[in-house]
Amino acid sequence: MTHLPYILGSYAAFAVIALWLALSASFRLRHARRRLNAVDPRAGQRQT
């Protein structure tokens, strides 16, 4: 395969950015849901 370092660099950048976006959204959502359930369990259950 020609230009392998450039191809690997591109896909590595994609993997890092995609994982960072997905994991940060997932952790933030989990944390927000836990806090809302702690403050008002009925509202938390109704809205998620």
Partner: protein, 256 residues
């Protein structure tokens, strides 16, 4: 069908939009939609990347460097379409003062900035072996760099005020002014003599690239678009819950 059309036509557009301003209704709808965005995004992106890396042939001029396009091109499309969505949310926010539109604009910003950064990074990694330079001050590259700065400016501006409402208004104005960059990005390769090649795929004409290169690109483009909206939906759900939690804590503190 006729009855529903009549019903819809009787309800003012602003009121239709405010139907979805109810946080509980939005959270229930978004929780239902989220898996239909996330799982197809994962499957389509994985299939597109596998096809792009291992099944599609090398280009007769670019060699294997064409495989960078399977990430670069969808990132470029998402950078522009994400900004269009940010501007649309800002328009709804300014015209109808829709609370979810404010939050949507705030949450689209960082995701859009990330895909624009990915577009610039992968473009640079493609440019070095193909053009012999990491960067050139070409009209297309420069206008995409301006788009990245617009995203970053929006992210900073909406968080720069003690009163969030003022931040939302200022960010919305910036987002609407920045829309002028989108046609410049799109037509930069036609208006100026650029090093960046013209569009290979347009809405009106047949694609000028081979079908064997096109199908992995279509899969990654569709997968990454769904992934973009899955991430935005997840962030928006979290933002609505955080706002609800703050409101409940504020009410409890006032009552105590």
């Amino acid at each position: 069908m006729e009855a529903s059309n009549t019903l819809t036509s009787r309800v003012p557009r602003g009121r239709m939009l405010h139907r979805f301003a109810n946080p509980g209704r939005f959270l229930r709808l978004a929780a239902r939609v989220q898996p239909f965005l996330t799982w197809p995004a994962l499957v389509l992106t994985a299939a597109g990347i596998f096809g792009g890396l291992f099944l599609s042939p090398p280009d007769y001029q670019q060699g294997d460097a064409v495989r960078i396009m399977y990430v670069h091109v969808p990132a470029a499309w998402l950078a522009s379409s994400g900004y269009a969505a940010l501007a649309a949310a800002s328009f709804v926010s300014i015209v109808w003062r829709h609370p979810l539109a404010d939050l949507a604009a705030v949450e689209i910003g960082p995701v859009g900035a990330a895909v624009t950064a990915l577009c610039l990074i992968t473009g640079s990694l493609w440019g070095k072996p193909m053009w012999g330079a990491w960067w050139v001050w070409d009209a297309r590259l420069t206008s995409v760099l301006v788009l990245f700065f617009l995203y970053v400016g929006h992210i900073m501006l909406v968080r720069a005020f003690d009163d969030p409402e003022r931040g939302y208004r200022a960010g919305a104005i910036l987002a609407l002014i920045g829309v002028v960059d989108l046609p410049i990005i799109k037509y930069s390769v036609d208006w100026w003599n650029t090093l960046h090649q013209p569009a290979s795929i347009t809405l009106t004409g047949a694609p000028t690239i081979s079908g064997s290169l096109l199908w992995p690109l279509a899969l990654t483009a569709l997968g990454l678009t769904l992934g973009f909206w899955a991430v935005v939906t997840g962030r928006l759900r979290a933002a609505v819950m955080e706002r609800r939690t703050r409101a409940l804590l504020g009410a409890q503190a006032e009552a105590a």
